[in-house]
């Protein structure tokens, strides 16, 4: 008998799971409340890294990097993937934190090293080497353009027979201690498994199922400048100020400040953010001072307890969590989706042991 799965949320997490489930024989529907790209997956900066402190999370990231390569050709969609490195820069105050985590990462098999400001300048000549004192360099990291990732996954899903419903908000329906499906208006869409991949909205979905989740919600603001010829290769994150910049394939400088915890979901942009961001960027890259900001926006994401994603079965039979990816979902969710498909179809997955709800 074919296993029927309903996925709530058309972001990178939900679509990755749907893709791998369908590829291995499940009958899958994905429900997105608005348009694809409405969630964090359509609003992020596309930085891909494995520079984390948790070994299992690092494994997900390394596997996701492989998947980005294979999926683009498997699906036939260009993700605008650039593997030109991911650099974390820092001042003296947090230098030790950076050194510490690099040791963890090396042990987990990440091709990462501590470098000095001159090295970073050799990667990006316009950076002000006096604006930081140390850096960690992950040569295999890089950037994707998140939109084609979402569109490509959706295309791959559809070609495998997945139904992707946009503008279709749903709620989860439970009977006794078992999931029966999702509700669309008055209609019940039956499923053996319901996957909660609703990002910042996951707490609410979980509540409907009677399952406690308590992910933290963050809001992050971001903006782009007018286009420049390609010249900033790596993704740069300043861990001292949380400001990050990279250059998209369209030539825009994409940058923002890591998100803050919030208790309500809103995606309003602020001038406060722009001025803070601008101050640090002109210090870091003085030559950008004349560039204009063309657009700004914000996104929301959810982070699981202990700062890790929440993936796997719950006390309600068939109700599965796939959320809590925090600021790292682009880097880790493809492999999480793959592992979850394996868990649902084969009954086990070693890596998911570490992210149990």
């Amino acid at each position: 008998m074919t296993i029927k799965v309903a996925v709530i949320g058309g972001g990178v997490a939900g679509l990755s799971a749907a893709y791998f489930l369908a590829k291995n024989g499940a009958e899958v529907s994905v429900f997105e409340q608005k348009y694809l790209l409405y969630g964090a997956s359509g609003r992020n900066s596309g930085g891909l890294t494995a520079q984390f402190r948790n070994e299992a999370l690092i494994k997900l990231a390394l596997r996701s990097l492989e998947l980005y390569n294979t999926l683009q050709s498997e699906i036939g969609f260009n993700f605008l993937l650039r593997r030109d490195g991911y650099v974390k820069i820092a001042n003296d105050e947090v230098a030790n934190v950076l050194k510490d985590e690099v040791e963890i990462q090396k042990r987990a098999g990440v091709n990462v090293k501590i470098v000095d400001p001159d090295f970073v300048k050799s990667l990006f000549p316009d950076i002000n080497e006096n604006a930081f004192s140390i850096a960690s360099y992950f040569a295999d990291g890089g950037v994707v353009f998140p939109w084609p990732v979402v569109w490509g996954l959706a295309k791959g899903c559809k070609e495998l027979g997945v139904k992707v419903y946009d503008y279709t908000p749903v709620s989860v329906e439970v009977k006794g201690n078992e999931v029966v499906g999702v509700r669309v208006d008055d209609e019940l869409h039956r499923a053996d498994y319901v996957i909660n991949a609703a990002g910042a909205w996951s707490n609410e979905i979980s509540r409907q199922a009677g399952v406690e989740l308590n992910n933290k919600i963050f809001k992050e603001e971001i903006c782009v400048t007018e286009s420049l010829k390609p010249y900033l290769d790596p993704y740069i994150l300043d861990v001292s100020t949380n400001v990050y910049i990279s250059q998209s394939m369209r030539g825009e400088i994409v940058g923002g400040i890591l998100g803050n915890e919030t208790n309500n979901i809103n995606v309003k942009s602020s001038l406060d953010f722009l001025t803070k961001y601008a101050k640090r960027v002109v210090e870091l890259v003085p030559k950008l001072r004349g560039m204009s900001i063309l657009r700004q926006w914000a996104g929301v994401y959810d982070l699981g307890r202990d700062g890790l994603p929440v993936i796997g079965p719950t006390k309600v039979k068939g109700f599965i969590q796939l959320n809590g990816f925090g600021r790292n979902g682009m880097s880790t969710a493809p492999a999480a989706g793959e592992a979850l498909a394996e868990y649902i179809l084969k009954g086990k997955s070693k890596i998911l042991e570490y992210f149990k709800p």
Partner: protein, 93 residues
């Protein structure tokens, strides 16, 4: 050569290209804008949004009201970084 009917001058997009995208399934305004790049050029859609609405309405049979107009992302007039950097403080949010 066929007439090139340009609907978005900033991003150099023809009516045909817009229709092609709609046929690929990018058939709501938000997806269409992002997939084609229409309305994301220097004029931020002042020159082409109405054309997009008209074509979408013709292709999908939905009224312009049903399609809805999307939020304009700030800032409307480009502001250089050094001016922002010199600002005392922001909007205090």
């Amino acid at each position: 050569m066929k007439d090139r009917k340009v609907v978005c001058r900033c991003e150099d997009l023809t009516e045909e290209e817009i229709i092609h995208a709609i046929e690929l399934g990018y058939d709501d305004l938000e997806s269409l804008k992002r997939f084609t790049g229409a309305t994301t050029g220097p004029c931020q859609g002042k020159g082409c949004l109405m054309h997009l609405l008209r074509i979408l309405s013709q292709k999908t049979g939905k009224s312009v009201d049903e399609i809805g107009v999307t939020t304009q992302r700030q800032p409307v007039n480009p502001v250089p970084l050094y001016i922002l950097a010199a600002a005392e403080k922001g909007d205090g949010e």
